[in-house]
Symmetry: D2
Subunit: 435 residues, 4 copies
């Protein structure tokens, strides 16, 4: 490796999770179990993927950790906030994602992860009713308390660095409001004025994290860091931000399957996606205001992969519909059913149905790990602001829409971008193009 | 374009199809209809795809025909051999793939495409019983008669160049026999000695085509040109060969979907693929000896995409099974059902089912067009022997196994190779790597 | 046959359809084609089913027409009302349900079926905008004009009897209002006072039909004849009424599949049903107010088949959800996807998925025929009011809820009731029980 | 209850299972757990179903045990034979059907169920290699040893009555051979002459059971008791026999779904059924000779439900294909995929796909319980020979083909026959007809 200017990953890495539910308890349990050699962190790119560096005769295939200095699983210390007081062990048991035998060996460690009181506003998630909640005078006070939490956690656990990860519920949809979200000054002003309508609690977490010099990752479809004010803050504090919405089940398939259609120049007349899921996420999304946030996130996927302007004969006016249904019998095992209407030679129609019986937390956990480790890496590499190279992990990748930047949703182009960033941080030459 | 050393596409291009059944009659009808502006050749890369040439500021997205000199649809003249005497119009009607309204406008032109007598051996496809068949003294005589057919067709139709395309049934499995298939001399000897066991009729077509200076394309899973003797002949006559097995329904999906799993580092424990199809192809494949040929072709897809050696935790000992079932109610509309058992974080299982209601001929027709136009291009570019860049279109891509060359089945890597070859023939710089 | 007191089916039977869209044009075309021996009326019980009459040694299996005097296909004369002026031929072509070759042989007859102006109120189906609409002073005037239409049609076509069949769109949901719908007098009063909120146009059709001595059938989920006022009218005029909502795709499957679960004493934890459909019906149902009418109709099916009170261990608190989605690419070919979560021995869960690629009009057309012929039969047999024996054909069978009568949704019990009624009208002994 | 001539169910009922694998260990565990109130015997008709007795005003709905004297769960004592020596606890754990928490509470009782040495012939199930096997001089000796086992078990466990249940693997197909299987004398002669080709080990179990005065139930598709010799023996010893092949997954659905199609007079053009399963049963069925036995059993279902002779327009020449595939990743959770091609009005095609993610043992266990309790009841009621009333539980119901008796496969007609038999044994009047 040559010319690498990334700081080494020394000391402990604190991982502070907003939300200590199914996803985070599965994430934590898996990391602790893997550390003991009792489970495999399957699905994690940082732990498994091998990618090419170099070209021609010099090319070789390496794990990410062989290219760049990543924190290891052993370096991680977990903390969390949640509106419910259950510790990580209780939460893992309640979630019914993992079998008892896969939790018990790390019970003691999990029990020690007790959630701090959450910064919460019932109006943003009316289906939740926990009371492990901070008492805040206003949004600015909320920020101050969260900052203090971060500082305390860092000191108590002797951490070198902290990453803050939102893995809590989807809040109600907050449209971007130029007057409030357009500049950092305006945002701070609104926080101080306690503008509850425009300042979601998640924004307080993000503000607190960035101010404390911690990368922030938005795993839900909330627009939290998708606003110019936060970009300004990230630039100011030189911190990376990543989001939004973990790319888990149906959208993972969509972002991988749409390229098959597009690459073969087959036409598309319609794509109908429906989902049934029964966990807390499903309950929250059963509320139309919260679903709206998700729908906006999920609908965008196809548009940038199958582009009418590029191929008007093939992709003009296809009908794309996404539905999410709360369905308690399924619990954490969400299920997607997609019907895809394509057409081929001479316009003749064909159909593809995809039925994905997946598990939300099982798919999200490795994304948590990768986003945390790669955000920490980015911070040490001096990369700040929107991290496009993390689009691979996200349903609705952040992009600077004020500059008309187009997000990349094509799974394999996202992968090319991811690899290029790793190459660059590792001192290797990146490929110049991704298609 | 700079430094292009490809001969221009002047004059008529004769396309001689072995088999005038559902696939070829759909292919021909579509080309003739598209020529009149009455149908769109959807699914054809040469007619639709736009690819990047150049890099950085110099990059642009062009159609293939803007990069390299391709024959146009107007240049094409069709001919065929078949064991049944029906002309292309009758065949298109019998196939029940296209609606009457999509055939009638080119009825006259189709009626003129009357099949020449086929070179046929009932032992290689016992379910077929047509009698529009050549009387041949031996395999060598079979070759001689086919060569004469090609010369006559070329002269009568005033063609500049000819491409021969096998779009007929799957023959019974012919394992590669070093003594017969190992060298051109041995093959010719066996033909003269009428070694019916080792010389499939398809080999006579390929031999005849190459000897007459025509590229040969194998659209079925027959091993026809997958033998060193044919490679030697292709080298001698400086002609391209391509094969084998059109990548139409289930394998298209598989070669695109397996990369989704692999790219996300998810594990695979099993993949079960079943097919129901009712056309002539299904009837032939209902015969175990013929199915064996197909099975070998279809099973290979996964192995080179999800590689146990590279990721032993994820891809060791997955169970892969492929079934094809003759099912007359479905006619040409074949249907695939795939069940994919994957596992994620901590080894937890999930399932994906894909149900593809596709149409064999609708998916195969644009492949015929692309393979013909690109093989003709390759010939003019002086590229001979195995055309790896056409792997994109084929279920079981040819590769020099005597040199332990590994075939590329990953759809998006195949696409990268295809684009690189077009770039090179167009005088642009190719990307150095495909992953 | 002995002791039969059913009037014979002499002379012409006029069939007046409300709505001349996909369903009715398919119905009419099929009847006319079948009359010429050019198509088979598949799916029609009156044309195909054979049922047992008699018992033990005396039992025999007869077609319905051999047991009771049914009108024949040759007796039928068609008429219609519609908000669009297209005649039945144009409508059949526009609907894209049937292929041209299956319509052309009866083109002339279809062209003669020109719709009368519809009694319409835009508020009840806001997505429709046709203008072949009557100008009515008030609801009572609407009734008067419809009665005149019926009388004219009967006279002009020399009909012996008329049946009126609603096969038009779903109106918005009209809850039963005791003050308006509770008695015939109240209903008539409201019509005269032009109470547009409580009197749907469909009620005017029903009132007109019954007043003119014609049976009335409600093929949509409208509550039109599901009100005591209409029951009173039916009793007064001694006319049968039947409804509501043709049992076509998903509910047909549900009413047949739920009994499999129930009969084997398997448990149910959830049933999720989603639908995609693209015809005019789908467009109307995309409007929440209209969907509500449909949802009420569709949800009731399970409750009376899998009954918590009878089997608390098995059927308490199952989660039942029904979704309908307008999806234009599918046109008339609607598609249902059901996910059924059952449990067995020791409570272990299992799943069943049913994907029904059906055609709305193809399934509805034979129901139209059967409901018309059997309603006409019932009228001649002196059976009036709610016809429970027609539940077999309907999604949400009419029942006298003021008497707490429980509807029968179990497909095979409905069939038993149907057969018993035929037996009785045919002078045979009915089976005493249906389970 | 009046005039009941069924002996009471006094004392212990010994249940001797041939095979102590997934099905029987699940059956035993469930019964023992239910006895302690720790699990529900869901899916069992004898434990859950309520059926009508009486008619009109006198009708009431009763559990079977309220109508006839059934043995209770508390009366049961389990024993088994198996080629593997694992006890019932070990077998339940190995099977991976039930979770640990559902087995542990009855561990002690299960551990006491240690299999006796099996009567086994490797040629009949070549994929099995256990060595807990009897050493037998010939088939007659095999019978003698099994009879001794039965007598010993009865004495040691102080049982009043014994039922023998075959829940072991499918043997290779043994066609009925008149000379050997036609009469009891011939059968005995062949046993003494050790005719291994015609005398399957299962026949020795059946012979031993019946000779010892125990009902015999064949849960696999073996033809064991489907031969006149066994009928003669059953008549001689006045014992009931029942078979064959537990109606668990796909065939359960088929026997319930085909009636939906038939009842609505829809046409059928094809039915394709495929299965993937990974347990010991699947392994054995991967052997073509063993699959043949199963295929014959599974194919018969449709023929007697959708009958070409009765409805030639609808059911002539439909294409029915059944496939079973060994697929280890699925373990005991077998999965069926059915594609059903139907046609409706004017012959227009529609498709139904059913995907059943089921669990073999979970569906089979309640059938074991019901077949055992009802066979014991039949014996006490003096009913001997073929028990048609148990067809409900079986894939390929026994019937006297020498008298051209037609089996009933229609699930709801089977249910009617079951209820009638219970009524009769309970002293109630049966319904005279079942359709």
């Amino acid at each position: 490796m040559e010319k690498m200017n990334v700081k080494p990953a020394t000391g402990k890495l604190g991982v502070l999770c907003v939300g200590l539910g199914a996803v985070t308890s599965t994430f934590m349990t898996g990391v602790l179990m893997a550390r003991k050699g009792l489970a495999k962190p399957v699905g994690s790119m940082t732990q498994y993927d091998k990618m090419r560096v170099g070209r021609g005769e010099n090319k070789k295939y390496l794990h990410y950790g062989e290219i760049v200095p990543l924190a290891t699983l052993d370096d991680i210390v977990f903390g969390a906030w949640d509106v419910y007081p259950a510790n990580a062990y209780e939460s893992a048991v309640n979630a019914e994602v993992l079998q008892e035998k896969d939790i018990l060996p790390v019970k003691e460690e999990l029990e020690k992860i007790v959630p701090m009181k959450a910064a919460f506003d019932h109006n943003y998630a009316s289906r939740l009713d926990g009371d492990n909640v901070k008492d805040c005078k206003n949004r600015w006070d909320m920020v101050e308390q969260l900052r203090e939490d971060i500082r305390n956690f860092k000191a108590e656990n002797n951490c070198d660095r902290i990453v803050v990860l939102w893995a809590a519920s989807t809040e109600i949809y907050v449209p971007v409001e130029e007057k409030v979200h357009g500049t950092l000054a305006a945002l701070e002003q609104a926080m101080k004025e306690d503008d509850k309508e425009h300042i979601a609690p998640s924004m307080c977490y993000a503000y607190a994290a960035l101010s404390e010099g911690c990368p922030f990752i938005m795993g839900a479809p909330n627009t939290t860091v998708d606003i110019p004010a936060m970009w300004e803050l990230a630039e100011k504090t030189k911190m990376p931000i990543a989001g939004k919405d973990f790319k888990t089940g149906q959208t993972l398939v969509k972002s991988g399957f749409a390229p098959i259609i597009g690459t073969r120049c087959l036409g598309l007349s319609g794509w109908f996606s429906t989902n049934i899921l029964g966990n807390r996420d499903g309950l929250v999304l059963d509320e139309p205001a919260n679903f709206r946030t998700k729908e906006v996130s999920k609908l965008s996927t196809l548009e940038s992969i199958l582009v009418p302007e590029d191929q008007p004969d093939l992709y003009t006016d296809y009908y794309h519909k996404v539905r999410i249904n709360y369905y308690p019998p399924r619990n954490d095992s969400k299920e997607g059913w997609d019907n895809i209407d394509i057409f081929g030679w001479m316009g003749y129609p064909m159909q593809i149905k995809i039925n994905f019986l997946c598990r939300d937390s099982i798919l999200a956990a490795p994304l948590c790990l990768d986003l945390v480790l790669l955000s920490d890496l980015a911070a040490r590499a001096g990369r700040f602001g929107i991290q496009r190279f993390l689009s691979f992990f996200l349903k609705s990748p952040m992009h600077d829409y004020t500059e008309n930047e187009i997000p990349v949703n094509h799974l394999f182009q996202q992968y090319a971008i991811l690899k290029n960033a790793i190459r660059e941080m590792g001192g290797y030459e990146a490929d110049q193009e991704i298609d």
